[in-house]
Symmetry: C2
Subunit: 254 residues, 2 copies
């Protein structure tokens, strides 16, 4: 088999945060598969086939891409951010596991990208400077009680929490329920960072206290970082505040 | 004040995974501060001042860099991987909070990088494809019982776990204790990925079952990913196995 498949992370969406290896992989591909808005980020190249699909079609998209690679094409599957974080790399692996045995023989690689939480954190300081977790709020893929349990466990034992997929038209109430659950475990003043479309022209950042956080502040393009009880805000005159979580905590050995 | 300070993520260590904005920031700097091995990755430029310091000197390094920026220099502080994940961005914020008021007026920005867990995950498939957390095993910065509690809480509620700073000469026993704690909550067959120096010439990857995981397989340059009970291994003839965590889990609404 001569085809190959590369799962490519496009990062947050600006050229300065796209890795050279990701750019090269996309450029070299005969065929690119992805969610439409991600494909739109890539300059068109004559002769390169593009197949856009909806954002609920991950497994089908993965299977299509694998078929194309198995037929001999150099295929790229693109994801925003990092393809390994709630994105296409797991869908491609799942398709390989469930698909024809021949798909396991394909040359397959994953190229990482700057994930949304890293870009959002960087814009405000270093809220992920201590132990943290990343949770997708989509209960299309797991039961809501599991999500709530994880949020409470994470907040209860001191993780900063990055929330992916916070809201969508089909999931309007989940984020407020999540904030409610978190308020049971964290001080009202805990900093919450809303990072929308970070690194893109329509970027919008906001830092609010947990008690004031609500779902109207987020949309599908938002990644949210909820601090721990240790997370701090540094006000700056005439500049946006810095948010960071200290590397060390009380009771450390040094 | 005319100086500025940029905290720059150098990624895993190969040029293909260094973002253009990080490269540009390092190139434009008058002065670069960092842990020696990270400085060594950057081609020297005449007239550019470099100050290497040890990997336990983060806060002093941050203060030195801020002083230099306050004196008018264009300063870069470099970290391997992402500077916001157990690295220099939090140290710089902490130094700003504790330092002279003038440091808050400085132009300061953070440029994200590909963090080790993303690079390691990409090399084996998509182990971080579902909810996950990142824990530093260094008990220099927090009490060991807190670390153990977080590991058990994370494993107990289904997070994949990325372990940073797993061992050092001064911390020889912690990693085996961590594996022991995790074995109380996870199946013996749970995949554990050891990713050493990922993306560099001396890269070494290994996938073992949790029951066989031990501290001799890791060093200071290793990032470890411990799967959840859902994480799967796909064997491939003549190729390394793929490891991934499915996006969806049993009991999801669709």
């Amino acid at each position: 088999m001569t085809g190959k498949l590369t799962v490519v992370g496009l990062g947050p969406g600006n050229a300065g945060q796209l890795t050279p290896e990701a750019l090269a992989a996309v450029d070299a591909a005969d065929a690119i598969f992805g969610y439409g808005p991600y494909l739109d980020r890539i300059p068109a190249r004559p002769g390169q086939l593009r197949t856009a699909s909806d954002n609920k079609q991950e497994l089908q998209r993965a299977a299509q891409a694998l078929e194309s690679a198995a037929a001999g094409a150099n295929v790229a599957v693109v994801s925003g951010g990092d393809p390994g974080v709630f994105a296409m790399a797991a869908a491609v692996c799942e398709a390989i596991e469930k698909g024809p045995a021949a798909w396991r023989d394909l040359e397959m690689s994953v190229l990482p990208g700057i994930s949304a939480m890293l870009a959002v954190a960087a814009r405000v300081g270093a809220p992920l400077g201590h132990d943290f977790c990343a949770i997708s709020l989509s209960d299309n893929l797991k039961p809501w009680p599991t999500i709530e349990k994880r949020l409470e466990a994470a907040a209860g034992c001191g993780f900063v929490i990055a929330i992916y997929n916070p809201v969508s038209r089909a999931r309007p109430w989940q984020l407020d329920r999540a904030f409610e659950a978190l308020r049971n475990h964290l001080p009202a003043s805990t900093p919450v960072v809303f990072g929308r479309a970070v690194g893109r022209v329509d970027e919008r950042m906001a830092i609010v206290a947990l008690i004031d956080a609500n779902a109207t502040q987020a949309d599908m393009s938002t990644c949210i970082i909820v601090g721990s009880a240790q997370t701090r805000v540094i006000p700056r005159a005439g500049k946006s505040s810095l948010v960071y979580t200290p590397r060390s905590m009380p009771g450390a050995s040094t």
